[in-house]
Symmetry: C2
DNA sequence: TCCGAATTCAAATGAAGGTTTGAAATGCAC
DNA sequence: GTGCATTTCAAACCTTCATTTGAATTCGGA
């Protein structure tokens, strides 16, 4: 009943579909297109996975395993400087998202799903995103003062994530504005340096008791 | 030939379609649905606008006019403190994007288009986005040291934009993570305070000669 | 009121895309 | 090699959706 996991075309489909879905999204990638790339019949997808949506879910699960092949999430050395730990992790994370020499289609797939969710989103959040988010939150918490409110911590983490995701989500516009960083290893390095500096500076500002400049009522 | 601009159904379509496109995107919003909401025949769209895409472009143009009704972009008082100017502008911008009591569908429409561009993107960039981006860049430039490299300025601006856009682009995931700010005027105020503080702190860090923590080669 | 142009409408058209079908081919156990 | 289950395939199917069509209706001016 359950198909043996030793299927040639089955795995071929899983391998081939990831980059295609990443390039054009779930809705705009056709079964025909995928099957042409995998050199198999259109019925194969439904035979092996039941439906296009089921197939997509399988692709995401399959992608999750080889998500960060070649580079594993750095484990924080216990007792290390929190800021340094965060900086190291950011280097790894941004690199895995944007490095021009590495297949970033898995992250692109995640980014597409984040913006335009399908029913497969829930599984993906629990499997891929929540662990990352938790790790990042822990690291930021170590940098902010002990009694920082959860809301403040949450906002800080979002500010970090947002700084990176924009390059995945808004690239079409950034390119038109001439605001996309150079697509080279050196350019990526400079971008990472920037994000690390900006982030640590932002966190330092949050740590101070502080009051934002020009506090006013929000508009309306 | 060119239809007189005094058409009842024509304007009714333009009025009704914005929120619908904002809710589900261009591809997933059907002509039928729109025409049902506007109480007119499906052929009306093609009659008045030529095609669905032409209609969409008209909707975007129409939306641009009433984009920020009720609140106009604050004009920087010449000679004012640059940081205060930026803070004020950020309050206005974020408020116009996220204020729960205000129709934010125009901004949602922009956000959708940013992530999933249609041929209408180019016009939208020139009309709506580039002016904002230019204004923001100018303000940031005044805060950073005089001889700051263009790339650094560009990255700083992106970091600011990214902090805000994440709430438009990734809300589905943030909700699942419990990381979405409270949807109230007070919650928005706190969020704005956070972004202002984080941003000014980040910019201050960029201003210092500086070197980021744990400088390493990027992975691979 | 009458005429012509503009507009509205229900129905048809045609393309695209996911899914189903039934037969052919393949692989594997005996 | 025979037989059975699995897998592949081409073709048909079915739904959705934008677009077109041609008739009916409305509107404005003479």
């Amino acid at each position: 009943m359950v198909p043996a996991p030793s299927d040639a075309t089955r795995t071929r489909l899983l391998e081939v579909a990831g980059p295609l879905f990443a390039a054009r999204g779930f809705r705009d990638t056709g079964i025909k297109e995928i099957c042409a790339a995998a050199r198999c019949n259109v019925a194969s997808v439904n035979y092996h996975f039941g439906s296009k949506l089921g197939f997509y879910g399988a692709v995401l699960a399959h992608a999750h395993q080889r998500a960060f092949v070649g580079s594993t999430m750095p484990v924080p050395a216990a007792g290390a400087d929190p800021q340094q730990t965060l900086a190291t992790w950011l280097r790894w994370w941004i690199g895995s998202m944007l490095h021009p020499d590495r297949p970033t289609w898995v992250q692109t797939l995640l980014a597409k799903e984040i913006v335009d969710p399908t029913p497969a989103l829930d599984a993906m959040v629990e499997r891929s995103i929540r662990p990352m988010h938790g790790r990042l939150t822990t690291m930021v918490k170590r940098i902010l003062p002990p009694r920082t409110k959860p809301a403040k911590l949450r906002d800080a983490v979002n500010s970090i994530i947002g700084q990176v995701l924009i390059y995945k989500h808004a690239s079409a516009v950034l390119e038109r504005l001439g605001a996309m960083p150079e697509e080279s290893a050196a350019g990526l390095d400079r971008l990472i340096d920037h994000v690390v500096t900006f982030t640590l500076g932002g966190l330092a500002a949050l740590a101070k008791p502080s009051s934002p400049t020009t506090r006013r009522r929000s508009a309306r």
